[in-house]
């Protein structure tokens, strides 16, 4: 009895990781460039952040290629990736416009400021919607169960961190953290949970 090649674990996703590194290095590099040099004036400095984000496109393509070759991604997962990348661009663009009007034009009036705050908030809510859609659209019960398990772990982590931090803050040990940190913290926790589950599977 001979086993076929795809019995083995799929190869390490070098291309995806490489583009991921390019993305993070680009984001950090551009951030530092804007922060410590005055080369690019506002609001164009924020627009500069869109450049390293372009690395997300080849990154998701590389991921889809890897996924196709190992038949691990589903159509729902591909839709999820496309939605997340589109919403990430919308988020950076929204934040850029909002910060420009808030800082440069000093729009601080109640309603106008609220509308500005919605610009980055709505794409972020969109990301949460995209995650919910993924769980609803995923036809593969194992992939869905894996996502749900990782999301539960991430929720547990976020609640633990928020509780711990909240009490530390109350007693003056840790500084105040703004509430919008909840989602990025949860997203990082989700990434860690997915990584942990992957390690456990191997």
């Amino acid at each position: 009895m001979t086993m076929k090649r795809d019995e083995q674990h799929p190869g390490f996703p070098w291309a995806t990781v490489l583009w991921g590194v390019v993305f993070f290095a680009g984001m950090i590099g551009t951030g530092l460039l804007i922060r410590f040099t005055q080369l690019v004036p506002a609001p164009w400095s924020m627009a500069l952040m869109l450049l390293p984000m372009l690395a997300l496109v080849p990154m998701s393509r590389a991921y889809a290629r890897q996924s196709d070759s190992t038949a691990c991604a589903s159509p729902a997962a591909r839709r999820y990736n496309t939605r997340l990348i589109t919403l990430s661009f919308a988020y950076v663009f929204g934040l850029m416009v909002a910060m420009y009007f808030y800082r440069e034009k000093e729009v601080t009036d109640g309603l106008a400021a609220a509308l500005l705050a919605l610009l980055p908030a709505i794409p972020t809510l969109g990301m949460i919607w995209a995650m919910a859609r993924y769980v609803l659209e995923e036809q593969d019960e194992y992939l869905r169960a894996r996502m749900v398990r990782a999301a539960m772990m991430a929720t547990g982590l976020l609640l633990s961190i928020a509780t711990f931090w909240g009490f530390m803050e109350l007693f003056g040990v840790l500084p105040h953290v703004e509430a919008w940190w909840a989602f990025p913290t949860w997203a990082i926790a989700l990434g860690l949970s997915q990584f942990w589950n992957k390690v456990r599977e191997q």
């Binding site: 086993m3 076929k4 795809d6 019995e7 019960e141 194992y142 992939l143 599977e201």
Partner: protein
């Protein structure tokens, strides 16, 4: 739950990917079920049984 998927698959000379395609699931799902890391739902278990043309209890072994 233990199962005979790997042997049954080898007898038919199917790869995990081929079985996944027949079942309409991902290759990872086949791998997770085969290695006992994930117990399939009843509908998926019936699909597996239909693909191999065997009863569920001839594929999955009670602990």
């Amino acid at each position: 739950m233990k199962n005979r998927l790997k042997v049954l698959r080898a007898e038919r000379n199917w790869s995990q990917g081929e079985l996944a395609e027949k079942l309409g699931v991902s290759r990872q799902s086949v791998n997770a079920v085969e290695t006992g890391k994930y117990d399939p739902s009843l509908p998926l278990a019936f699909r597996i049984s239909a693909v191999f043309d065997l009863a569920i209890e001839d594929i999955f072994i009670r602990d």
